[in-house]
Symmetry: C2
Subunit: 195 residues, 2 copies
């Protein structure tokens, strides 16, 4: 599996020496995961940090009525983890499942710690990753609560280009928090507006 995508993802924020890049790639384990396979089930401890090279994963939890809520899709060039479970060895609140056949790299907790200890640039990369994650989540909590379903749909299309053509509509509806019927109304409205 090629390392180009993961190295350019990290290279956007920090500069690794050739030796550091080689050390990083020596720690990554390539995996191909078939559609519908679980990478993490609710209640298990998350033992890996994942990077998607090709395909699509979903990160979900069950609400108190047992309904699946999708908090994130991870397509090419996205990282995925249950951070609380991974760092603190807790049973995971989220589950992670493949939506398409997916090629990924995984990094074990031991290797993650080793990498952060030996390569200071990776501390800076993680810092950037979690600061950006915090900001995005904060926006989701505050600003996005006041968005209409139509505006959330527009955001989805920008955040995940072309994903709409790849995965079942019911998953997009679960991500947006609308019924599949209402999503279909939104799509028609959108395609009329831009045709």
């Amino acid at each position: 599996m090629p390392f180009d995508l993961i190295l350019s993802n990290i290279g956007q924020h920090v500069r690794l020496t050739p030796g550091e890049a080689e050390f990083l790639t020596s720690l990554l384990e390539p995996r191909t995961v078939p559609k519908k396979e679980f990478l993490l089930r609710e209640g298990e401890v998350c033992r890996y940090d994942y990077f998607v090279n090709r395909g699509c994963l979903k990160v979900c939890y069950s609400d108190n009525k047992g309904v699946e809520c999708i908090v994130k899709f991870a397509i090419e060039n996205w990282w995925v983890i249950d951070l609380d479970s991974f760092l603190n060895h807790k049973p995971s609140f989220y589950y992670i499942q493949a939506v398409e056949d997916t090629d990924l790299f995984r990094l074990s907790k031991g290797n993650y710690d080793l990498l952060h200890e030996r390569v200071p640039a990776m501390q800076r990369f993680s810092n950037k990753r979690w600061q950006d994650g915090f900001i995005a989540l904060q926006k989701r909590v505050t600003q996005n609560l006041s968005l209409t379903a139509e505006e959330r749909y527009a955001h989805f299309k920008v955040k995940y280009p072309n994903l709409e053509q790849r995965i079942p509509q019911r998953l997009i509806a679960a991500y947006l928090g609308v019924t599949p019927e209402f999503l279909s109304v939104l799509r028609k409205k959108w395609s009329t507006a831009f045709s």
Copy 2:
């Protein structure tokens, strides 16, 4: 203003050498802020990271009806910032105001960058800070949405010990997202249960 609290706050997560601690404290600017003063107004660029030594601040935003939503209180030993505004020089979404007369240290953006560049332990500290922040926010978005007002009140009492006796009840109601009348019902119920 004594440096004990801020040094022990950082020392809980990383170890600074005496020289590094001295460098850090040389960059901090002590300030005393009277009750009701704004440290940051909505739309301004956040130019400082703040650490509260004594007193209480609130971090708020106005919802689309102009109602004040309190996202956080910062009492002794808490850090406060509008991260997106601070890192990316954007107009702030949040405003920060003193709820009590407050003693704090502020760290300018320039000094913040210098500190992180020169002291690798501060990169690790920030990493921990934003990972923990991300996890806490994630819990607030998912698990806490399903909590009752009574459970949220119980969380508030644990998170901010004794703050209830210090600040106006309407602020606590705004934080919990309930009316002051309903908060008064909750308090009576709680005091009966534990008396």
